[in-house]
């Protein structure tokens, strides 16, 4: 997984983190694995309680924007094998 700068800082890690996912490799399970490994990221990508995506966060998988896809849909095989990154992206703002 590739993290944006601010989440790298919070997690005390580099841009890339490797995660072991329990069960099917879905967006929900990937984010569960991220938050289990880096609990300081809870509430930063998904809201506490509802687990809704924060409005200005985007998800890319193998070059495809899956932000609005079902969180329980299986991700591409290249993500599951680690060949391609799952990216968390902060929405662009100008100025």
């Amino acid at each position: 997984m590739l993290l944006p700068l601010h989440l790298q800082t919070l997690a005390g890690t580099g841009r890339e983190v490797r995660l072991t996912v329990d069960g099917a490799v879905t967006r929900g399970n990937v984010l569960d694995a991220l938050e289990a490994s880096y609990p300081m990221l809870r509430g930063t990508v998904r809201e506490h309680g509802t687990l809704k995506r924060r409005p200005r966060v985007r998800f890319y998988a193998a070059g495809v924007d899956i932000t609005h896809d079902d969180a329980e849909a299986r991700l591409p095989a290249a993500i599951a094998t680690g060949e391609e990154p799952f990216r968390i992206v902060g929405a662009i703002s100008g100025g």
Binding site: P4, P39, E47
Partner: protein, 394 residues
């Protein structure tokens, strides 16, 4: 007292400024939490090494940071080490979990408040505006949040619980956001009465609790606000900031969205003390640490023009508890100055003479080590300053 430490929150991180008691030479450390908005950063009165910081981002939400060594190192409470584990071994990571209390057991939490268009709108957490450490316990801290509510931690910021009696007040469906959102931005603790606390919300007004935060009453009698349909309504006033002197907590001073006010009965009634100010609009208000009747404001031209009158940055001081004000200008720019000073961006130290400090939206932090007679910039080019707090270190 051996040192003075200023905690500065800005749009792009926090800065810590330290000096000895001469307050002439300052060390500048930062940015901490670079790139994040730091609405407020404040130390505990009982343990000055304990500092809480509110770090937030429109992208990635709310973070609470804590330092136990006077700002040298920081961590998110509950997110590392053994304290982060639940009984089943899972990480908790709840230091940034501000979830409104919707239970029947506590308060009477409502689900909606008034929105800009007059319709009812659900309460939505945005950020922590203000952190107020308790006066008797470093692990207890209050947090004022947007949308307006009051939270408290008693475990050093690991978990936060809403004091739902405030948001459950019967007037809450009438509360409405100001231009900056519907924020609980001011928390004042009575040093003589641990059961009494005040808070202020934009734009609903001032509230007081006499039972430790369980129940609340609006205390806005005497306020007059032409921007609401009933200018003397019980709620709806855009209070910007309240300050007290610890020796006389029954007297409160208020900077409102127009008008500087004073109460001598714990908020039960207020009277205007704007007197000869060039404008009675502004955001911060502060009380001299050794003179309970000496107060400071920074007049701003108007709610439409958020900059000083005539382009002159002037702190105004009253030594008589209001009405009679003098301009303090020595060392402050007296031409072409169009910055603002936000509500949490002014503070005093407890050294003698009293030090007064404020930060601007232009990134300057000004200091006076003689109660405001003379000013010097400590730094000039920080990001826009959101908050300034001062610790006088033993």
């Amino acid at each position: 007292m051996t040192a003075v430490r200023i905690l500065v929150g800005t749009r792009k991180g926090a800065f810590v400024l330290t000096s000895d008691l001469d307050r002439k030479q300052w060390d500048v450390d930062g940015p901490l939490f670079a790139g994040w908005e730091v609405y407020h950063i404040k130390g505990s009165a009982v343990d000055p090494d304990r500092i809480y910081a509110s770090q937030s981002s429109s992208w990635f939400g709310q973070i609470i940071q804590r330092s136990d060594d006077g700002g040298k190192s920081w961590f998110q409470p509950g997110s590392s080490g053994e304290e982060s584990k639940t009984v089943d071994g899972m990480p908790q990571g709840e230091s940034n979990k501000f979830v409104y209390d919707t239970s029947e057991a506590t308060g009477r939490p409502l689900s909606t408040h008034q929105w800009y268009d007059g319709t009812q709108h659900p309460w939505e957490f945005a950020r922590v505006w203000h952190l107020e450490p308790a006066l008797d316990d470093p692990d207890t801290c209050y947090a004022g949040v947007e949308d307006a509510a009051l939270f408290r931690t008693t475990d050093g910021g690991v978990t936060w619980q809403e004091l739902a009696g405030l948001r459950g007040h019967e007037t809450a469906s009438e509360w409405a956001p100001g231009a900056g959102g519907m924020c609980l931005h001011t928390i004042v603790l009575d040093p003589n009465n641990p059961k009494r606390l005040f808070c202020a919300i934009s734009a609903s007004g001032t509230f007081r609790s006499d039972d430790g935060g369980d129940t609340w009453k609006p205390v806005n009698q005497g306020l007059h606000s032409d921007y609401i349909p009933d200018p003397t309504a019980e709620v709806g006033h855009c209070v910007h900031r309240i300050a007290i002197h610890p020796s006389n907590p029954n007297t409160l001073f208020m900077q409102k969205h127009w008008d500087v006010m004073r109460s001598d009965d714990g908020g039960d009634s207020w009277r205007e003390i704007s007197g000869n100010l060039p404008s009675d609009f502004g955001f911060p208000i502060a009380v001299h640490s050794h003179e309970p009747e000496t107060i400071y404001v920074v007049p701003i031209e108007s709610d439409s023009l958020h900059y000083p009158p005539e382009g002159k940055l002037r702190v105004y001081r009253s030594r008589s508890g209001g009405e009679d004000w003098e301009a303090l200008t020595d060392g402050l720019p007296q031409e072409h100055c169009y910055v603002n000073v936000l509500r949490d961006a002014m503070a005093v130290d407890t050294a003698d003479p009293c030090g007064v400090y404020f930060g601007t939206t232009g990134g300057q932090v000004y200091a006076s080590s003689d109660s405001g007679d003379h000013w010097n910039p400590i730094v000039r080019d920080l990001p826009a300053v959101l908050s300034v707090e001062v610790q006088t270190i033993p």
